[in-house]
C-alpha cells in the first residue's frame, strides 16, 4: 500500500504524519507537493495539519484551489482512502468531500492539550483496530475546530453513523454534538480535528493514535 501525504504551503504536521507511517508503521509513504496534479499509483492520501495559506479567508479555503485537489477528489470517488487531520479536515469540508464546516472555537482560544475521545464507529477503514465505544487520549491543537452543520446535516450524520470520534467528558471547542471526526457516507474519507499522528509512540505521551494507522494499513492490504 502506497500512501501520499500532501504538503501545502503552511502545512506543519506533514513530517509527523510521514514519521508515523514510515518510522513507526514501516509503511510506504511519500511527500507530494500541492503543486502536483496527479496521485496516480497511490492507494491513500493524507491531508496533514497546519495552517495552509496562513488560514487566510477561512481555514482550508485557499488550499482547496491547489493543483492537487482534483486528484484528491478522484481518489475519494474511486473509494481510495482519504484522511484529513486538523487543517486537513478543514480542507476536506471546504472541498465538500465532508459536510459542515469548522468554525472558530467558542472560547476564541487556540486549544492545545490532550483530550479524551470516544470511538463511535469501528466499521470504517480507519477504525477497525479500535474497540467499539473505546475511550482514547489524543492531542488537539487548533483555533478553528468547532464543528458546525445544520440540524438536517447533523441528523443525517447521526443516522448514517458518520460520527467516528466524539469528544468525551469535555468539549474543547463548542463542536455541535461533541463531534471530533466524521466520515463520508461511503466511509472512505475521514476528517478529524485531533492528531492521531502525535500519539503513536510512548515517548510522545501515548499510543492511542496507533490503531488508526494500523486500521488504515490493514484496509489497504485487504483492498
Amino acid at each position: 500500500m502506497k500512501i501520499a501525504v500532501v504538503v501545502f504551503p503552511g502545512s506543519n504536521c506533514d513530517i509527523d504524519m510521514y514519521e508515523a507511517f514510515h518510522t513507526v508503521c514501516k509503511a510506504d509513504i511519500e511527500y507530494v507537493s500541492y503543486k502536483e496534479k496527479s496521485l496516480d499509483g497511490f492507494d491513500a492520501v493524507v491531508l496533514p495539519g497546519g495552517f495552509s495559506y496562513g488560514d487566510y479567508l477561512r481555514t482550508g479555503a485557499i488550499a482547496r484551489f491547489s493543483n492537487i485537489i482534483p486528484a484528491v477528489e478522484k481518489m475519494a470517488e474511486e473509494g481510495k482512502l482519504v484522511l484529513g487531520v486538523c487543517n486537513g479536515f478543514q480542507i476536506l469540508t471546504e472541498m465538500g468531500l465532508l459536510p459542515g464546516a469548522l468554525k472558530k472555537n467558542d472560547s476564541l482560544q487556540f486549544v492545545c492539550k490532550t483530550v479524551t475521545l470516544e470511538v463511535e464507529n469501528t466499521h470504517t477503514p480507519f477504525t477497525t483496530e479500535y474497540e467499539d465505544k473505546e475511550l482514547i487520549r489524543i492531542p488537539i491543537a487548533h483555533g478553528d475546530g468547532s464543528y458546525y452543520a445544520d440540524e438536517d446535516v447533523l441528523a443525517e450524520l447521526e443516522n448514517n453513523h458518520q460520527v467516528v470520534f466524539r469528544y468525551h467528558g469535555e468539549n474543547p471547542n463548542g463542536s455541535l454534538h461533541d463531534i471530533a471526526g466524521i466520515c463520508n457516507k461511503e466511509g472512505n474519507v475521514l476528517g478529524m480535528m485531533p492528531h492521531p499522528e502525535r500519539a503513536v509512540e510512548k515517548i510522545l505521551g501515548g499510543t492511542d493514535g496507533l490503531p488508526l494507522f494500523k486500521s488504515l494499513l490493514k484496509a489497504g492490504v485487504q483492498a
Binding site: L57, R58, A61, F65, T93, E94, P99, G100, A101, K103, K104, N105, D106, S107, L108, Y148, A149, D150, G174
Partner: protein, 84 residues
C-alpha cells in the same frame, strides 16, 4: 470602474463567539442598551466594468465560489461607487 462591498457574517443560527465576547465587553462599559453585536468581514472589490447587472453577477459568482462558506455564513452586497 465599479467598487462593490461584500459583507460576510455567520448565519443567524450560528453562534458568533467574537460577537458574543464583544457584546459582553460593551455591556461591561455600561452600555446596557446594546443587545447584540455581530462580527463579520468585508471585501471591497473593484471591477473594470460599468454594467451593474454584469457587476452583480460577477460579484455573486466570486462570493459564492470562494468568499462565503454557505455551511455557516451568509452575505450581502452593496455597490459603493460607480464609474469611480
Amino acid at each position: 470602474m465599479t467598487t462593490v462591498r461584500i459583507y460576510v457574517t455567520y448565519k443567524p443560527s450560528v453562534f458568533d463567539p467574537q460577537g458574543a465576547a464583544i457584546t459582553d465587553s460593551v455591556n461591561s462599559l455600561g452600555h446596557d442598551e446594546v443587545k447584540k453585536i455581530v462580527v463579520g468581514k468585508f471585501f471591497d472589490i473593484t471591477l473594470d466594468e460599468d454594467n451593474l447587472d454584469k457587476v452583480k453577477a460577477d460579484v455573486k459568482d466570486i462570493a459564492e465560489s470562494l468568499l462565503v462558506n454557505f455551511n455557516m455564513e451568509t452575505y450581502k452586497i452593496k455597490v459603493l461607487e460607480e464609474n469611480a
